[in-house]
C-alpha cells in the first residue's frame, strides 16, 4: 500500500525522469502542470490524513503546513511557468531542449524539497536539501548569459561550503545523540532525537548548532551569508526566483528550526536565541538599507526576502509561544506573498521587456489590472492590512515590545527603512507617465491572484486547524 507521503516525493522524481524524455515544450509544460497538481493533491491528502511517524518519514503538526505550502506553490509556479516559458522561447532566450531540461529539473527540485520536508532522518533531510540546492544552481545558470553563469558559480561555491558545514553539523548531532540513543540509525532519527533531546550531550549540541546555523543559514540567506541570493534571484528564470524565495528559503529554515527544537529540548545547552536575534536583526536592517540602491526589480525583491527571513529568524530567536507562532505565520505568509510578487514581476518584465526599475513607469496607465495586483502584493509584503503579513508583524512587534521595549525599536526601524524603499519603488513603477514599450502579457494571472487571495483570507480569518498546528509547533520551539 503506497502512502501519500511517498507520493509527494515519488511523483516528482518519476515525473522528472519522464519529462527529460518528453519532446515539445507545450506537452512538457502541460505535463509539468498536471504532475504538480497531482503532487498538490497528494499534499492535500496528507493534510487530511493523520500524522505519521515512520523510520524515514515524519508528518507532524510542524512540517505538514510546509508540505502543503510547498506542493501548492509548486503547482501554481508550474501553472505560471507553463504560460511564462512559452514567451521565453519566442524571445529566444531559451531553446526547446533547455525547456525540456528545465521541466525535468523543476520536478526533481520539488521532489527533493518534499524529501527534505518529510524526512524523519537528519541525513536524508540533508541529502534532500542539498540536492534541491544543486539543482537550483543549475537552473540559475539556465540562460547561460555571463551574468547568469557568474550568479550560478557564486551560488555554487557558497552553497557547497554551506553544504559541507551543514554536514559536519549533522555528524555532530549524531555524536551528540550517540550517548543517549547508541550507535546507528536511531541517533539520526528526528522523532527519537526529539524525544531524547534532554539526554543529549550539550557541548556537542552547541557546536553542532553553530555549524548548522552557518550551513543552513547560508541557504536561508541570513546576512552576511546571503551573497548568493540576490544574484541567483535576479539572473535565473522568474519561476525559479519564485520557488527560491517562496520555498527553498523556507525549507532551509524548516531544517534549522528542527535543530533548534533539539537544542531547546536540552536545557544544559547554550540558548540559541540571542545568536538568532542578532543574525536576524543584522539581516533585516542590512537588507532594508540595501533596498534603496537596487536597480533590478528582481534583485530588489530578493533583498526584501532577506529582510523578511531576518524578521522571521528574529522572531524565533525571541522565542515564546506568541513570537514563535508569529514566526511560523510569517514564514507561511511570506512564501505565498513573495512568490506571488515574483509572478507579478515576471508579468511586468514581459510587459516592459526589461527588469531595470528605471525603465518601468506608469504601469497603472498601461496595465491597470497588473498594476493593481502588483501594488496590492507589494503592500501586502510591507505588512499592510488586510493581508496576512500584517497579522504576523503585528504579533511580532507587539510581543517584542511587551517583553523588551528597547530591543523592539530595531526590527521596527529595519521594517520602516525597508518600507520606505519598497514604497518608493512601487510608486515609481506603477505611477507617472508611462515610458518604453508596453507589450500584451500572455502569462496567466491566475497564480498571483490566487496567492493574493490566500494571503488576504489569512489576514482576515485563520482556520482553527492551522492555528492548532502552529501553536503545537510553537510549543516545541520553546
Amino acid at each position: 500500500m503506497i502512502h501519500a507521503y511517498q507520493l509527494v516525493v515519488l511523483i516528482p522524481y518519476a515525473a522528472a525522469l519522464i519529462l527529460v524524455a518528453v519532446p515539445g515544450y507545450r506537452v512538457g509544460a502541460t505535463a509539468n502542470v498536471i504532475v504538480s497538481a497531482a503532487t498538490f493533491a497528494a499534499g492535500l491528502w496528507l493534510v487530511a490524513g493523520e500524522s505519521i511517524v515512520g523510520d524515514y518519514a515524519i508528518v507532524d503538526e510542524f512540517n505538514i503546513v510546509f508540505i502543503a505550502i510547498n506542493t501548492l506553490v509548486g503547482f501554481t509556479t508550474a501553472l505560471f511557468s507553463a504560460s511564462y516559458i512559452g514567451h521565453e522561447i519566442e524571445t529566444g532566450r531559451l531553446s526547446p531542449s533547455f525547456v525540456r531540461f528545465y521541466h525535468a529539473m523543476f520536478q526533481a527540485m520539488m521532489g527533493s524539497m518534499n524529501l527534505a520536508l518529510i524526512a524523519n532522518n537528519i541525513g536524508v533531510m540533508w541529502v534532500g536539501l542539498e540536492l534541491a540546492t544543486l539543482i537550483t544552481v543549475v537552473m540559475v545558470g539556465l540562460y547561460r548569459t555571463p551574468q547568469a553563469i557568474e550568479a550560478a558559480w557564486k551560488y555554487f561555491i557558497l552553497a557547497s561550503v554551506g553544504i559541507s558545514l551543514a554536514f559536519f553539523g549533522t555528524i555532530l548531532i549524531y555524536l551528540a545523540g550517540q550517548p543517549a540513543l547508541g550507535e546507528g540509525m536511531p541517533a539520526m532519527t528526528w522523532s527519537l532525537l526529539q524525544a531524547a533531546a534532554a539526554r543529549m550531550d550539550p557541548a556537542i549540541l552547541d557546536l553542532a548548532f553553530i555549524f548548522l546555523l552557518i550551513g543552513y543559514g547560508t541557504k536561508v540567506g541570513l546576512a552576511p551569508l546571503h551573497a548568493w541570493l540576490p544574484d541567483a534571484h535576479a539572473e535565473g528564470p522568474t519561476p525559479i526566483s519564485a520557488v527560491l524565495s517562496g520555498l527553498l528559503l523556507n525549507v532551509a529554515l524548516y531544517a534549522l528550526l528542527r535543530f533548534k527544537m533539539l537544542v531547546a529540548g536540552q536545557p544544559a545547552a547554550l540558548d540559541p536565541g540571542p545568536v538568532m536575534v542578532v543574525m536576524g536583526l543584522v539581516s533585516l536592517i542590512f537588507a532594508a538599507f540595501m533596498l534603496y540602491q537596487r536597480r533590478d526589480i528582481k534583485r530588489l525583491f530578493a533583498y526584501s526576502s532577506i529582510e523578511h527571513m531576518g524578521l522571521i529568524v528574529f522572531a524565533f530567536g525571541m522565542g515564546g509561544p506568541l513570537a514563535n507562532f508569529a514566526g511560523l505565520l510569517h514564514m507561511a505568509m511570506h512564501s505565498l506573498t513573495k512568490s506571488g510578487i515574483f509572478f507579478a514581476v515576471g508579468h511586468i518584465a514581459q510587459a516592459k521587456g526589461t527588469q531595470r526599475i528605471a525603465e518601468i513607469r506608469g504601469l497603472s496607465v498601461t496595465h491597470p489590472r497588473l498594476a493593481v495586483v502588483f501594488a496590492l502584493a507589494v503592500l501586502a509584503i510591507c505588512g499592510m492590512p488586510p493581508f496576512g503579513v500584517f497579522a504576523s508583524e503585528f504579533l511580532i512587534l507587539t510581543t517584542t515590545f511587551a517583553r523588551e521595549p528597547w530591543l523592539a525599536l530595531l526590527p521596527a526601524f529595519g521594517l520602516l527603512v525597508g518600507f520606505g524603499a519598497l514604497l518608493m519603488r512601487l510608486q515609481g513603477t506603477i505611477f507617472g507617465e508611462p515610458v518604453g514599450p508596453a507589450h500584451r502579457v500572455e502569462a496567466s494571472s491566475v497564480p498571483m491572484v490566487l496567492h493574493l487571495l490566500l494571503v488576504l483570507a489569512a489576514g482576515i480569518f485563520l482556520p482553527p486547524l492551522l492555528v492548532a498546528w502552529f501553536q503545537r509547533a510553537a510549543e516545541l520551539l520553546g
Binding site: I214, T218, A227, M290, T400, G432, P464
Partner: protein, 668 residues
Amino acid sequence: MPGLYVSGVALGALAIGAAMASLVRGPALAFVYPLSALAAVVLGVVDLQVLLSGSEAAIRLPIGLPTIGFHLRLDTLSAFFGIVINGGVVAASLYGMGFDRAKELTPRVEPLFPLFAAAMNLVLIADDAYAFLFSWELMSLASWALVVARHTDPECRRAAHLYLVMAAIGTVALLFAFGGLAGPAGGYAFDTVRAHRPQPMVAALVLTAALVGCGSKGGLIPLHAWLPLAHPAAPSHVSALMSGVMTKVAIYGFVRIAFDLLGPPDWWWALPPIVLGAMTAVLGLLYAVLDRDLKRVLAYSTIENIGVIFVALGLALAFSANAQHEAAAVAMAAALLHVLNHSWFKSLLFLGAGAILHATGRRDLDGLGGLIRRMPRTAAFFLVGALAISALPPLNGFVSEWLLFQAVIAAPALPQAALHFASPAIGAMLALAAALAAACFVRVYGTAFLGRPRSAEAAGAHDVPLAQQAAMGGLAFLCILGGLMGSVLAAALAPVLHKLVGGALPGPGSGPTPFSLIAFDPARSIYDAPVIALFVAIASLTTLIVVHRLSERRTRRGPAWDCGFPDPSPATQYTASSFAQPLRRVYGAAAFAARETVVMPPPGDIRPARFSVVVVDHLWRVFYAAPGQAVLGLSECLNVLQFLTIRRYLVLMFVTLVILLSIAAVTT
C-alpha cells in the same frame, strides 16, 4: 445592540460600494457618492441615538486574530466621534455629487472614497488592538491612494510617499503602545487591557508611543511635515475629509488610550501633550500665515487646531490626575467641542478652496482676488468658515475656544508647580494662536475674495454647481448653529464627559437663560451666545434704521480714493505675501530665520529693484531632510557589499563561523 447591526450593514454597504466601483467605469460610477452619503447618514443617526440614549453595544466576530477574535463596541465616545466623521462624509459626498465626471479622475478616486469612509468608522468601533490597527492602517492606505490620485504630478507622488511612510511610523508607534498595554501574554482585547492596567514604567512608554502614533496622524509638530503636502494633494472633498475628519480619528485614538485604556493618569502625563500642543498651535499658524498656497494654508491651520485640541486634552489629564473633575470636564468639553467645530469649519473651508480651484484652476492666493462678486454664495459660506475658525463670536469656533480659556485660567489652581507655572505661558500661546488665526484668515479671505481679481482666471470665475453649494451651505449653517447652541452640544456631551473624566459641565437651567454656557458655576464664568447675538442684532438693526432715518441716504459709486493716487492695475493691491510681511518681520525672524534683502540699483540705473525673502524651515531640515540623507548615505556605504568577490564573501562566512565558535569556546 441593533445599532451595531445597523452600522454594520451601512459599513458593509460602503465596502460593497467600493468593490463595485472598482469594477465599473464611466458614468456608472455616479452611484458612489449618493451611496456613501446614505450610509454616512445611517451611521450618523445610529451614533446620535447611542450618544443620546447612552446604550452601548459590543460584539465579538470569530475573525481577526486567532483565539482573540475581532471585537467591536459602540460606546458613547465612539458615537460622538462617529457623528463628527459621518457629518464630514455626508458633506464630502454631497460635494462629490456636483463633480463633472468627465473632468475629474473618477476611476482613481471613487472606488476608494467609500473604503476610506468605512475604514474611519471601523477605527471608532474597534474594540481590540488588532481590529483598531487593522482599520487604522486601512484608513491610511485608502487615503494614500486618494492622495496619489493625480499620480502624474511628481509633487503628489512625493507627498504620498512621505505621507505613507509617516503613517507607517505612526502605526509602528501604536503597535508598541498596544503591545505595552496587552503585555507579554497578548491580551489584545480592550476589556482585557482594562482589566489589567500596565505598570507605571510601561504606562509612560505607552503614553509616549500613543502620542507619537496619534500625533503623526494628527500633525503634531515635529511629526507634521507630511500633512501640508498630502492634504492639499488630494481632490478637495478628500482634503476636506482628511483635514476635517481623519485628524479627528487620531484624536480619538489618543483619547481612547490615554483616558480609557491606560487607567488613572499621573499628573506629568499632561506635560507632553500640553507643551507639544502649544508649540504646534503657534508654529502651525506661523507656517500658515507665511504660505501662499490656499490649500496648504488650510492644512497648516489644521495642524494648529490639532495642537489646540492636544493642549485641551493635556489639561484634562492634569485636572483629572488631581481629581478636579469639573475642571477636567471643562477641558475635555473644550477638546471634544473643538473636534466637532473644527470638523465643520475646516471641511467647509476645504470645500470652499475646492470650489475656488474648480472655478479658477488656481490655488495660489496671489493669483486670486475679487471672487466675492464672481462667486457670491461660496464667498458668503467661506466668510462664515473663516470667521468661525478665527474663534470669533458668535460662531462655533469661539465656544470651544472660550471653554479652553476657562480651563487654562483654572490651571493655576493645580498643585504641581510645573503645571501652574506652565499655565500662563500656555494661555499666552493660545491667545497668540487665536490672534494669528484671525490674521491668517483675514489674509486668506482678503486676498482670495476681496479686492480686485489678480488673474484672468479669477476674473472669469463662476460659482459652483448647486450640490456643492448645498454642501458648503449646510456646513456654514452648522457653524452658526453650533455657535449659538454651544451649551446644548455641551449638554449632549455629558455622558462622554462622565465616562472619561468623571464630571460634566453644569447643565442648562443652572444659568440665567437655558442657552448660557457655564464653566464651573454661574458665579464664575458664563458665555451666553444667543443673548449676545440678540443684542448685536438689535443694536445693528436699530443703528441701521436710525442712521437711515437721520442721515443723507444718497450713495455715489466712484473710483477708489486711495489718498488721491488710484492705480487701475490690480498689481498695486496688497498681495498675500505683502500682507504677511509685518508678521514675518515680527515672528518669522525667530521662527524661520526669515531675512529680507532689497537690491536697489543706483540712481539713474533703469534696472528694477529686487526684493527677496529667505525663509528656512528648521524643523524640516532637522527632522526630515537630515534623516533622509542619513539613510541614503548609509545605504550607499553598505552597497559595496553587493560588489565583493566570491572569495571575500567566503571570508565573511568564515569570520562569522569563527566568531560563533569562539563564543561557544569561551562561554560555559
